[in-house]
Symmetry: C2
Amino acid sequence: MRTCLIGQKRARRGTCYDPAMSLYPFVLEMKKLLGQVETWLDKASAHAAGKKYDPNVLLQSRLAPDMFPLIRQIQAVCDQAKYAAARVSGKEPPAHPDNEQTIEEARKRLGSVIAYLDGFAAGDFADAAVTARTISLPRWEGKSMTATDYFVEHVQPNFYFHLAMTYALLRHNGVDIGKRDFLGQLTMK
Amino acid sequence: MRTCLIGQKRARRGTCYDPAMSLYPFVLEMKKLLGQVETWLDKASAHAAGKKYDPNVLLQSRLAPDMFPLIRQIQAVCDQAKYAAARVSGKEPPAHPDNEQTIEEARKRLGSVIAYLDGFAAGDFADAAVTARTISLPRWEGKSMTATDYFVEHVQPNFYFHLAMTYALLRHNGVDIGKRDFLGQLTMK
């Protein structure tokens, strides 16, 4: 079995492959989807107005008593995107104190992270440094992941988990959103 | 502004970038997560045995009356992974008639798609053909997406949507699963 080149990984069947892919399109997609959450909140506010309830009540709803309420789901989906872009590109992310209490504050949080992601360019995710970079979080007790593994195995599942829970909570409460609101516009020709 | 090379895309700030990344790690991740669903079903069966109810009742549960029940969510998450691997690599996927009625049948469906994904290697997603390939579904009425756009904007959000709804439905019904069951083992050093 031949030796893989430096930076390559061994796949099943013994072949070598290069994990130095560009993660940029996946970052752009997260940015787009944070924008979709803004449209869900518009519909949540409309639902509350139609039924004459305080829309901020929704932010405390949960799918199970030991799951995060809606506001924490929104904070978490924002954080996954923010930390992904920052850590994979080796930058310091802005701090957010997680003190949002209202739909308007949730909207500001989303806008702030979308603006932060706007500051990145393809080159931030395409250079060889991304492949070489390792990421370690305090709770991992000294262990680390490669930037690519972190993005594929940690960021993507966590981002989409909290995004889908946000959607599920609104949908479960009767807000008029559907799959198209989840996906947003697709790049079609 | 300089012209981008053939196969490159123009990003914001006018820079060109190469979308020919390897999607293979993302396919492996989907395979891993289908395996996680099998572990959730184990816990669902244990929950049903402990509470003395028929576990197949869970398969008809919904988060909203106009959302898919659990069994359709499981079928959909299987399909997203299967079609992603097949379409992006230009292969014909196996057919599944969507006639599962029991947890055991859902488990077989998951196993069948995991085995199908096992048949792919890194090379199926790394060659230039992936970049050149376009994908068109009957319901898109003649429009198409590049394989990369399809994977990033369609497959990933849809796969994770149905995966998270599967998790949410089990969790909402009291099955003892948590975030670690969702993510599975991470590649740490």
